[in-house]
């Protein structure tokens, strides 16, 4: 009898301990501190004290409603664009990639070898006022003569879409790749048109990938502040920018903490509604 057999009652604890310890130390405890901080009042000079200051929450919602809404809006549009852009790519790689599959996947992940900040700064150059993109759009009269892309919401949404695209493309690929092509053949044998076969067979079977991809894109995108900072103007700032400024510039930790919780709550509500609409099994990918 080895150790684990003799202590079968305690075995699960021991096996789980590293993971639980990690989560507790790096997630639960900091979250607890943050919650505590979000209910403090005072300022950095005189110090903060815990006073159940729920007003931090009401004030945040009241003062920064525009930025909250904008974050959800930008993240939502970017998620949708990423889905539309990466679905055909993932589909093509999964069904037509053949022996190039791995190389093609590498191309999708390739931008990740460069840091986030540099990738975003590259967009600053691509979209610059005297750059190729703006000049072309001006020639085509899409943009007026004085028009620009930098420091507009278009640039921010484009930046977010680009930066989070692989988070969308990879789960989509995985779910599409698992589809048994014979099912699609069967649908066509049963007189489904190409479009019908796609809508009734391929699309539902790839739903776990869509759900995973949209969540992986939407959740970090809603809290992003780099894209709005570098590609947007003051009118395009998202809630991440406000939290950053409250935390670092104003040293108003309670407000920053409260806003973080509000954002977290908003995202949780979104995920919950989303899960209700598409069914929880899609979230865990157990539907087959």
């Amino acid at each position: 009898m080895n150790f684990f057999h003799r202590h079968r009652e305690t075995t699960p604890y021991l096996l789980l301990a590293p993971g639980v310890l990690f989560l507790a130390v790096f997630f639960v405890v900091p979250l607890g501190f943050l919650a505590y901080q979000s209910l403090e009042s005072g300022n950095f000079d005189v110090g903060f004290s815990f006073t159940w200051a729920w007003s931090n929450y009401w004030n945040a919602i009241h003062d920064y409603r525009a930025q909250f809404v904008r974050s959800i809006e930008y993240a939502g549009i970017a998620t949708l664009l990423a889905l539309v852009a990466s679905y055909p790519v993932a589909y093509w790689i999964a069904f037509r990639g053949g022996r190039w599959k791995n190389l093609l996947l590498l191309f999708i992940v390739a931008p990740f070898f460069v840091t986030y900040l540099i990738r975003t700064l590259a967009w600053e150059t691509i979209l610059s006022d005297n750059g190729f993109v703006v000049n072309t759009l001006q020639t085509l009269h899409v943009l007026g003569p004085g028009g620009r892309l930098l420091a507009t919401s278009t640039a921010v949404v484009a930046g977010i879409t680009y930066n989070f695209l692989p988070f969308m493309a990879l789960p989509l690929y995985v779910s599409l790749e698992q589809i048994d092509e014979r099912m699609i053949e069967a649908a066509e044998d049963l007189y489904a048109s190409k479009l019908h076969a796609f809508l009734r067979v391929t699309l539902p079977l790839s739903l776990p990938g869509i759900v995973a991809g949209t969540l992986l894109t939407f959740i970090p995108a809603a809290g992003d502040f780099i894209n709005a900072q570098l590609l947007g103007s003051t009118q395009n700032h998202m809630i991440g920018n406000v939290i950053q400024s409250k935390f670092l510039e104003q040293t108003d930790y309670p407000s920053a903490a409260a806003m973080s919780f509000i954002l977290m709550g908003a995202i949780l509500v979104f995920v919950f509604v989303y899960a209700r609409l598409v069914g929880t099994e899609q979230l865990t990918g157990t539907a087959g």
């Binding site: 604890y13 130390v25 103007s233 700032h237 040293t251």
Partner: protein
């Protein structure tokens, strides 16, 4: 198999177990960090440390372009036997303060002997009020006599007991002459419709408000609610009109050089460093701002060694080389404004072109047109909040 745990039980037990394991450990960890108080090395021992840890802003030291070394630091090591571990890890006052305030508030050392903070932001004053700075060892700084007169009694440290200037700079307006006529006033910058969406304003409240208050005919060294509101509303109007493209730190430099910006509220030294002949910098016609980056010794730093280093850079000959560089030896200087009297004489001997640059060694007449923002206003919570809300949309 019947006594096998269900998944749920397993999770429950693990959760309890996990909490039981972690909490005492964590508390212990928190407790012990508090007891490791700083200040152990602060006794006034007159012994030089082996290494001096110096955190500074980017591009803020004389550099040998061939060897990628800092000649004045090598010279210091030769002379005193103390190696300077020099790191340029300060990008702006707020985030650097955010980084060090945690350990300092718990009484821990931040493992630095000298840091540099700006007087037109609130954090320098905050460091002193919180008692997070060590007193300088003036007996080791006889060269303090070379400190220029205007810097001797700042209101945040009236007798220079804790801080010494590293470099100063001016805030004004830069413009790109390929894109616009000269932009020489705040009203041009904020209200000329030809520049709509092509200009930026500094996100540093002290800089921006000083310039706008001067343009309004108000005194930025004594801020009142009325002068504040007038200046604030003038900037807000320019935001609402989409005249202002962005609020920036020193990241205005690349777009200004590329042509995305026609003009920008900007710092003198940055423009001197860009060295682009189409980009011109001026003090606005109603006046500009003057700011100074100050060295200080954070709690727990080695006071004597740091003071000896400060004394070294206040030697006019050393300062002259640091400031102007020396083309014959491939040394690039700092190119801001030195606080050391007599540095210009030496700078002339090393690099006359730089020594005669009015952005680096400004004339007394130029210095009369630049002002230091009211320190009390920098710490006014209401102003701070209004300003941050404006620049963060």
């Amino acid at each position: 198999m019947t006594d096998q745990l269900t998944r749920r039980q397993l999770l429950e037990r693990a959760a309890i177990g996990g909490t039981a394991i972690t909490l005492p450990g964590l508390l212990a960890a928190c407790g012990s960090s508090g007891t490791k108080a700083a200040g152990g090395t602060t006794s006034s021992s007159h012994k030089l440390a082996k290494t001096l840890h110096f955190s500074n802003w980017t591009l803020y030291m004389d550099t040998n372009n061939k060897k990628h070394t800092n000649p004045s630091l090598i010279e210091f090591e030769k002379k005193y036997g103390t190696h300077v571990a020099y790191v340029e890890d300060i990008n702006d006052n707020a985030s650097f303060f955010g980084k060090i305030q945690g350990p300092l508030s718990r009484g821990q050392s931040i493992d630095r002997d000298i840091i540099v903070l700006t007087d037109n932001d609130r954090y320098l004053g905050l460091m002193l009020r919180k008692g997070w700075a060590e007193k300088l060892d003036k007996s080791a700084i006889p060269n303090i006599k070379n400190l220029v007169a205007v810097q001797q009694h700042p209101n945040f440290d009236p007798n220079r007991e804790y801080t010494l200037p590293w470099q100063s700079g001016m805030t004004g307006i830069a413009y790109n002459d390929t894109l616009t006529d000269p932009v020489l006033s705040v009203s041009d910058l904020l209200e000329n419709s030809k520049l709509k969406g092509k200009i930026t304003v500094l996100n540093s409240m002290g800089d921006a408000m000083t310039l706008v208050m001067l343009a309004n005919g108000d005194d930025p060294t004594k801020v009142t609610d009325k002068s504040w509101n007038d200046a604030f509303n003038r900037i807000k109007k320019a935001v609402d009109n989409k005249q202002i493209r962005q609020f920036t730190g020193n990241d205005y430099a690349p777009p200004l050089a590329k042509g995305d910006l026609s003009a920008a509220m900007s710092w003198s030294g940055d423009i001197a460093q860009i060295g682009n002949k189409h980009i011109h910098w001026n003090v606005p016609k109603d006046g500009g701002a003057l700011w100074t980056d100050n060295m200080l010794i954070p709690k727990g730093g080695d006071v004597y060694t740091a003071s000896v280093y400060m004394n070294y850079v206040y030697d006019p000959k050393v300062q002259g080389l640091m400031e102007a560089g020396d083309p014959k030896r491939n040394i690039t200087g700092i190119y801001y404004i030195p606080p050391v009297a007599g540095a210009k004489k030496w700078a002339l001997s090393f690099n006359p072109a730089v020594a005669n640059n009015p952005l680096i060694f400004p004339s007394p007449k130029t210095l009369e047109t630049v002002h230091i923002f009211d320190n009390a206003a920098l710490n006014n919570q209401k102003y701070l909040e209004q300003w941050q809300n404006l620049i963060s949309g």
